[in-house]
């Protein structure tokens, strides 16, 4: 087979280019025409005749139609992006972004919807996975109901008030106070009872024959007020402890006796004497309404056994004279300094 020389191929190529064949089609058509030319040369034609023959088949009109048809075909394939980016730098990145826009959008919408649904269904899912608490559990729901509370105060049945019994009355003798009157106006019968009369009777408003043995004077029983049959017992409240009272409690026998008592009973702790400790121990205690000493403790001590010794001696003390508030004996807290001094 005869090969077409380079310059002749060039000639064909130029002819095709000159007639406006699209560059994409050029190699294929060139190959086709070259093959045809070679075939003709093989048949013994000269190149000039072969070339004219080719030009006859591949006339400018045919090439033109071929190019246009090819462009139409390509145009069908082209998208808007291809048209926008025609002749521009496609490797810059924007073309890739635009080309992948649809798939990116699809993916992101799918992901977004999935994520949103997941968030929305999470509480539901959690409720499904975590079992509901049993009634027996420590924490459970309690339904609140409004309860209409009515005070069920039924008045207590009235206590029948017993009529006061006629108590045994002591025999009394009429004893009248006398007015000072002139002699002629003094009534005869109004003679005061004699001592003999009052031996077995009490002086009274009237002269009553009663039991002569009872000599006690009983006050007439106060009638219980009607309707209030209940006896309200006074509560025995705990005694109040006073700090300061009108009449302070005191050692029975006075301060001198207390000093004597302390001197007799207080022993200087060896520990303190060895350490050469001296000073005052403030002891606080309560003098009860009966004078008894209780709740002994040290307020401010000097240590070295002195505090304990002071407390011991205070506890040893006999009953005090109780403090008085408006005449009544009361509990009083009393602070006493005990002096420890090395002679």
């Amino acid at each position: 087979m005869k090969r077409l020389q380079e310059n002749r191929i060039e000639l064909l190529s130029n002819y095709l280019k000159k007639n406006g064949l699209s560059p994409e089609l050029l190699p294929e058509i060139l190959d086709h025409l070259a093959c045809e030319a070679e075939e003709r040369l093989w048949d013994g034609d000269s190149f000039e005749r072969a070339f004219s023959g080719i030009v006859e088949t591949a006339d400018p009109d045919t090439l033109q139609i071929l190019s246009v048809e090819h462009n139409h075909l390509l145009a069908m394939e082209k998208t808007l992006n291809d048209i926008v980016f025609e002749g521009r730098n496609k490797s810059y990145g924007a073309y890739q972004l635009r080309k992948g826009y649809n798939s990116t959008m699809q993916r992101s919408v799918l992901l977004g919807v999935t994520f949103f649904l997941l968030i929305m269904l999470l509480p539901n899912l959690y409720a499904r996975l975590v079992p509901e608490p049993e009634i027996d559990d420590i924490g459970f729901e309690v339904k609140l109901t409004t309860v209409d509370i009515k005070p069920d105060v039924t008045p207590p049945p009235p206590v029948p008030v017993e009529p006061p019994k006629a108590e045994p009355q002591p025999s009394t003798k009429k004893f009248v106070s006398y007015d000072v009157l002139p002699d002629d106006m003094v009534m005869e019968e109004a003679v005061p009872p004699t001592i003999e009369d009052l031996q077995h009777a009490l002086p009274g408003q009237e002269t009553v024959e009663g039991i002569s043995d009872i000599m006690d004077i009983a006050p007439p029983a106060a009638e219980a007020p009607a309707g209030k049959g209940r006896v309200i017992e006074a509560k025995t409240t705990e005694e109040e402890t006073f700090i300061a009272v009108e009449q302070a409690p005191a050692y029975a026998g006075g301060n001198a006796a207390m000093a004597e008592f302390l001197r007799k009973n207080l022993k200087y702790p060896t520990q303190a004497s060895r350490a050469n400790i001296q000073g005052r121990v403030f002891v606080s205690f309560i003098v009860g309404s009966d004078g008894k000493i209780e709740d002994v403790h040290t307020l401010k001590g000097i240590g070295f056994g002195c505090d304990e010794e002071a407390e011991r001696v205070i506890k040893l003390m006999p009953n005090w004279k109780a403090g008085r508030q408006s005449g009544n004996p009361v509990r009083v807290r009393f602070n006493l300094p005990i002096v420890f001094q090395i002679d």
Binding site: D31, A58, L73
Partner: protein
């Protein structure tokens, strides 16, 4: 030349089928080879012009029935065409269609011949 133009008229409608059918047999062909093959098989009765052939090849390629591969031969790029799987099916279907059509045409033409005989 006159017979050629009349044959071209029919060829235009069947060109797709012809190309697909040829490729189904030969597996891999380039443009000029197809024209030569057609010319040889039909004894020159049907001559494909490259102006008609290439648009059809490009269209089939775009439709996905053909795939191309470029091979450099003698310093020139030669584009070989071969069928894809859907191309194979299309070739079979189109060939069947054409055969049925030819039969129908034959039937259409036959009575006349019978009548004259």
């Amino acid at each position: 030349m006159d017979t050629n133009t009349t044959s071209n008229e029919y060829v235009r409608g069947t060109l797709k089928t012809i190309v697909l059918n040829l490729l189904a047999e030969e597996k891999r062909m380039y443009g000029y080879e197809i024209t030569q093959e057609v010319k040889e098989r039909t004894g020159g009765a049907i001559a494909l012009t490259f102006g008609a052939l290439y648009p059809v090849l490009h269209k089939l390629e775009q439709e996905g029935l053909l795939v191309t591969e470029s091979v450099e031969v003698d310093g020139r790029l030669r584009k070989y065409y071969s069928l894809t799987t859907p191309g194979n099916e299309a070739a079979r279907a189109k060939t069947n269609d054409l055969e049925r059509f030819v039969d129908a045409i034959r039937l259409l033409l036959a009575p006349k011949i019978m009548a004259t005989e």
